[in-house]
Symmetry: C2
DNA sequence: GTTATTGCAAAATCTTTGCAGGGTG
DNA sequence: CACCCTGCAAAGATTTTGCAATAAC
């Protein structure tokens, strides 16, 4: 388990969440959180399960799902469903400000940042009375590569 | 099959899409599109299938999935995955400008409008080279009802 | 010691697929 | 009349559940 300031923080957040809810602080739960915060980018349950199996600490797939549920509740991870049938996740501590462009042709996912999204979030919170915790914004369309391919096809 | 200007338009769009792709214009495909455009709000495959079975024209679930795929391709419907495991859909002809607030506690979905989203879409298209066709924006948080319930719990 | 949590496998749910028959172009 | 599309049922994939064993408190 490599040390990092980020991991230290999320471990503390998770600990206090578990304590507040009177949930047990098990080895499995912390191993899963540690593994997730070692992953760059998105992951799905299957790949997380495989990583845990080979690298550090074997847990059952049921426990992976259980822990992911807890991590979603305390906002340490984000759940995405980019249009496939498998859910994908990503850590969300101090990186909850980017959004995604998804190519409807090849499926490539690209990240982008736009501070205006946060502003819309605040406006919407105020006007609807919702207490918005986080957002998810997807732009669907053709990536530059697929776009030029389609143009070629039309030319033929 | 009730007449409406909207239905007339989407039927024509779908017809020309099928012709352009050299796909066949079957009764089933038009019955499904007609049913979808009779639905207010969101629906899932199961409920659409049930509606078709009882109301107009029985089709197999495989055909429902197949047709939904086509309607997604020509942007006549939108696919949502609000966090559950079942996908939900909605018609998107001339109503592709609203977004969704989702309560993480009770699951209620509320719509909202904000024209700034369209602006972000254009900025992002320009800067990334993506040809963005549509977007999906979800705000997750507590709805007013659940918010006040949680506050009560804390007070105790 | 109690009781929540884990692991395993089986079940449940949603979606896709293969194939024979039927309908569209 | 060729062959794409449909319907059916079975298979696939992902997620959930039930229950005995285990470990946290």
């Amino acid at each position: 388990m490599k040390y990092s300031k980020e991991k230290d923080s999320v471990m503390r957040i998770f600990t206090s969440y578990l304590e507040r809810k009177n949930y047990r602080k098990t080895r499995e739960r912390f191993a899963i959180l540690d593994e997730i915060y070692s992953i760059k980018g998105h992951f799905d349950v299957e790949s997380l399960y495989e990583m845990l199996k080979t690298k550090k600490y074997t847990v059952s797939i049921a426990t992976v799902y259980n822990t992911i549920e807890l991590l979603l509740e305390c906002n340490l991870i984000k759940k995405h469903q980019f249009g496939e049938n498998t859910s994908r996740y990503e850590k969300s501590f101090e990186c909850n400000n980017h959004d995604h462009l998804i190519c409807t042709n090849c499926g490539v996912v690209v990240e982008f940042w736009n501070p205006v999204v946060k502003e819309i979030q605040e406006t919407t919170s105020a006007s609807t009375g919702f207490d918005v915790v986080y957002h998810v914004l997807y732009f669907y369309g053709l990536c530059p590569k697929c776009k030029s391919k389609k143009t070629d096809e039309t030319k033929r």
